[in-house]
């Protein structure tokens, strides 16, 4: 794809220039005041983060709710509601010392009892992903108001990565204890400890968050208000950013084709940071149960047939990375010796010949998340047809897509999944056979079952010795790389575009989902 490299090279170079040039003139002392106008796409179904896990909910409600920790861009834990913490040498006891002066938005004091209630009662009931993590926990105790002790059944080194706001948000015990969690009236007016309070929500138009005046970190937050604007049409969102109505465009709110144009505008900055904890990973589910995709050679042929560099350069404007295997390359446990499948249509045809593929049509289900994904579906179909695979594209809305994948009614289907910083939190779920169950589009949907892989993932999760753990993860990556239970197509980049006078917008590996407590806006003109 040498033809393409010059175009994309130009685009990335331009983007880099913008990013590098921006902060040079920045004023260093944060200024209070100002309003953030942020695009939110699509409109979240609710804001009660401990109950609703959709990506747009996490983005808005990360300002309202908090967890014990946050994570920097290297995924090292940082203090949040917990000022400090200790992990015992045997890896079984996690002790957190809470910040002493934290208050809920309604004025009640936040204490260790809230932590025990949130983790042990509320989230165990409402969040399956959190429940799976808490399965490793024997007991959660509160020896005093400001101390919480988690005791584990066996070492689980990834546990320290689980205290992110979307995974373990703190829930007010005084409001929820003993109530029906799903029908509590407070769900419409969520109460958290975060830097911003829920103010109002005009459905279909705007969500307003106001500054929390009693926030426990002195002087923060700096912004007076955050408005989250619901604008369903991508072109209108872009126009709203250009005319200054919006000053922050989170990843996904700008179509990829438009990214260079908006990023190159004067006074516009772009960053890819803030993505590290989630590592969204685009994949093609390949149905391992039936049809041609049940044959390992066919699945390998798919990997050889896909021109992933083209997709990265053209569809994603050179952002993102072609993965070498099942683990995101930014993960510490990624096996760096793994070679990505090259784009080799001849090899793909050879494999198809070898298995005796007879031209049986294969259904392709793209992800209905907008323009880029539709185009990507077209590119993948063309790649597959070029090596002689008969493809029929299906179209559906988000609900239909969820349904088809949950019911295993697909041959090849697009998806993307968060990796949550550790294989045991975000990756094992896609490959272990105990996670094969109809009804969810997020588990082992492809139906891959390999006892060796199950064993390696299970043992690695509870192995406290980093070297032994890495050896197991290396082995599992090699097995998966060869078996191709699904096709790994892209480590997605999540560019945020914002006006350069917004500072310290993204300061952690959780990005915008971590809330705007450090963000401040440089006021133009000093004669006020």
């Amino acid at each position: 794809m040498t033809l393409l490299s010059s175009v994309t090279g130009r685009l990335t170079a331009a983007a880099l220039l913008v990013t590098l040039a921006a902060p040079a003139s920045a004023q260093e002392t944060p200024q209070a005041g100002g309003v953030a106008n942020v695009a939110i796409q699509p409109e979240p179904p609710g804001l009660m983060l401990p109950l609703v896990q959709n990506a747009p909910t996490q983005r808005v409600a990360g300002n309202i709710f908090e967890s014990l920790l946050r994570y920097d861009t290297d995924l090292e834990p940082m203090p949040q509601l917990a000022e400090s913490w200790e992990i015992s040498d045997d890896g079984l006891t996690y002790t957190f010392h809470l910040h002493p002066d934290v208050k809920w938005h309604d004025g009640e004091a936040f204490t260790s009892a809230d932590v025990v209630f949130s983790a042990d009662v509320f989230l165990r009931e409402t969040n399956p992903r959190t429940r799976a993590i808490l399965d490793h926990v024997k007991s959660i105790e509160a020896p005093d108001d400001n101390t919480v002790v988690f005791t584990l059944k066996q070492p689980f080194p990834a546990f320290i990565q689980a205290f992110e706001v979307g995974t373990l948000p703190m829930v007010p015990k005084h409001i929820y204890e003993g109530t029906d969690f799903y029908n509590n009236p407070a769900n419409n007016h969520p109460i958290g400890t975060g830097p911003f309070e829920f103010a109002k929500w005009d459905r279909g138009s705007v969500i307003e968050l106001g500054k929390n005046p009693d926030y426990y970190e002195a002087g923060k937050p700096y912004l007076d208000k955050i408005y989250w604007h619901v604008i369903p049409d991508a072109a209108s969102r872009a126009a709203a950013y250009e005319n200054g109505t919006l000053n922050i465009m989170p990843a996904g709110s700008v179509e990829n084709f438009d990214i260079p144009r908006l990023a190159e505008m004067e006074g516009s900055c772009m960053t890819e940071s803030g993505n590290e904890y989630f590592n969204p990973f685009a994949m093609l589910w390949l149905n391992n149960r039936e049809g041609p995709t049940a044959d390992k050679r066919f699945r390998q042929a798919v990997m050889y047939a896909l021109d992933r560099e083209f997709a990265r350069n053209v569809l994603w404007n050179g952002l993102g990375k072609v993965p070498s295997g099942p683990f995101n390359s930014t993960l510490a446990s990624h096996d760096d010796d793994l070679e990505p499948y090259p784009y080799d249509p001849d090899k793909a045809e050879e494999l198809l010949d070898e298995m005796g593929y007879d031209g049986e049509p294969v259904r392709l289900l793209p992800l209905p998340y907008g323009e880029t994904w539709t185009r990507w579906g077209e590119a993948v179909r063309q790649n597959l047809e070029d090596v002689g695979i008969n493809v029929e594209t299906e179209s559906s809305d988000v609900a239909g897509w969820n349904q088809k994948i949950s019911d295993w009614d697909y041959d090849i289907a697009f998806t993307y999944l968060f990796q949550y910083g550790d294989p045991s939190l975000g990756i094992a779920r896609t490959y272990i056979s105990s996670n094969i169950a109809k009804g969810s589009p997020w588990n082992n949907v492809e139906g891959y079952a390999n006892p060796k892989v199950d064993e390696l993932f299970a043992n690695a999760a509870v192995e406290n010795d980093p070297e032994k753990r890495q050896a197991m993860y290396d082995e599992v990556q090699q097995i998966l790389h060869d078996d191709v239970p699904l096709a790994w197509i892209m480590e997605l980049a999540q560019p945020t575009i914002y006006r350069c006078n917004v500072h310290d917008l993204i300061t952690t590996g959780i990005g915008l989902n971590d809330g705007f407590k450090n963000a401040w806006i440089e006021q133009s003109g000093s004669n006020d």
Partner: protein, 277 residues
């Protein structure tokens, strides 16, 4: 004066016929001019027309040849326009004929049924139908036919009402011809001219409907069509205006040509009306 002479008297109609002929030619030659799939990514994306020789209309957002898309899209547009019109006629003509010929309760029942469809906005109904059946060429043809047959039924009914009391029909009835024979052999042939004119306009409407559906992303995802090309290019209007303009002009010309031809047919088939104008 012969049919063709009368048709040719309308200059616009002649021009329309020429344009239409070119579009048909393009559609027929598409598999020979561009034997490759129009979906194939063949060059750098966003080439302006003529920037690289061999790509005289440039390339789209993914480096696909716009000219190839235009040629293959012509085939799809014409085919869907024609087939859905034929299907709409197959629904509308019998219903209108029965209603007009028998009158009374049958007429009431059939016309209320027709009105039921007429009261629902065409395009909204087409969207719903395609969304329910899942987008494919078949579902699009069906949806377009289902929303466009009511005017046919009303037109045919009107013609039947005016013709069924003419003397030759009475005579046919008197010699004992069956209802079926009277409808098919006596009346129907005499209603054909307005139906043909209407049909030519319906093809134009069907092409527009298909383009609108594809534009909204409800086209057959495996077929390259003009509406799809505009829909896919809409978001890059600012960077590459020609990507939406070229297929847009193609739709405009084809629909215009069909309308002009329809008008010419109207003149040719109804000489009295034409002369009065």
């Amino acid at each position: 004066m012969s049919f063709f002479k009368r048709f040719a008297q309308n200059r616009g109609a002649l021009g329309g016929l020429v344009i239409l002929g070119l579009v048909v030619l393009l559609a027929l030659l598409a598999p020979f001019l561009y034997p490759d799939s129009p979906w194939r990514m063949v060059q750098r994306p966003f080439l302006a027309p003529g920037e690289v020789s061999g790509f005289w209309l440039g390339t789209d957002v993914m480096g696909r040849d716009v000219a190839a898309g235009l040629a293959h899209g012509a085939w799809v547009s014409l085919l869907i326009g024609l087939i859905s019109t034929v299907v709409a006629l197959a629904i509308g003509v019998p219903l209108g004929a029965l209603a007009g010929y028998f009158g009374g309760k049958i007429d009431d029942a059939l016309m209320r049924f027709t009105e039921f469809f007429q009261t629902i906005p065409n395009f909204a109904l087409a969207i719903v139908l395609v969304a329910i059946m899942e987008p494919s060429t078949v579902s699009i043809v069906l949806a377009i036919a289902i929303v466009s047959w009511p005017p046919v039924a009303r037109l045919v009914r009107g013609e039947f009402l005016s013709i069924k009391h003419r003397e030759y029909v009475e005579a046919a009835r008197l010699v004992g011809q069956t209802h079926r024979d009277i409808i098919i052999k006596q009346i129907l042939p005499n209603t054909l001219s307005p139906v043909i004119v209407l049909a030519s306009l319906m093809v134009a409407t069907a092409i527009l409907l298909e383009s609108s559906l594809s534009f909204l992303g409800l086209g057959d995802p495996d077929t390259m069509s003009w509406g799809y090309m505009i829909g896919a290019a809409r978001t890059v209007m600012r960077q590459a205006w020609w990507l939406s303009v070229i297929p847009g002009v193609a739709i405009l010309l084809t629909v215009l040509a069909l309308n002009l031809v329809g008008e010419g047919l109207d003149d040719a088939l109804n000489p009295q009306l034409a002369r009065q104008r």
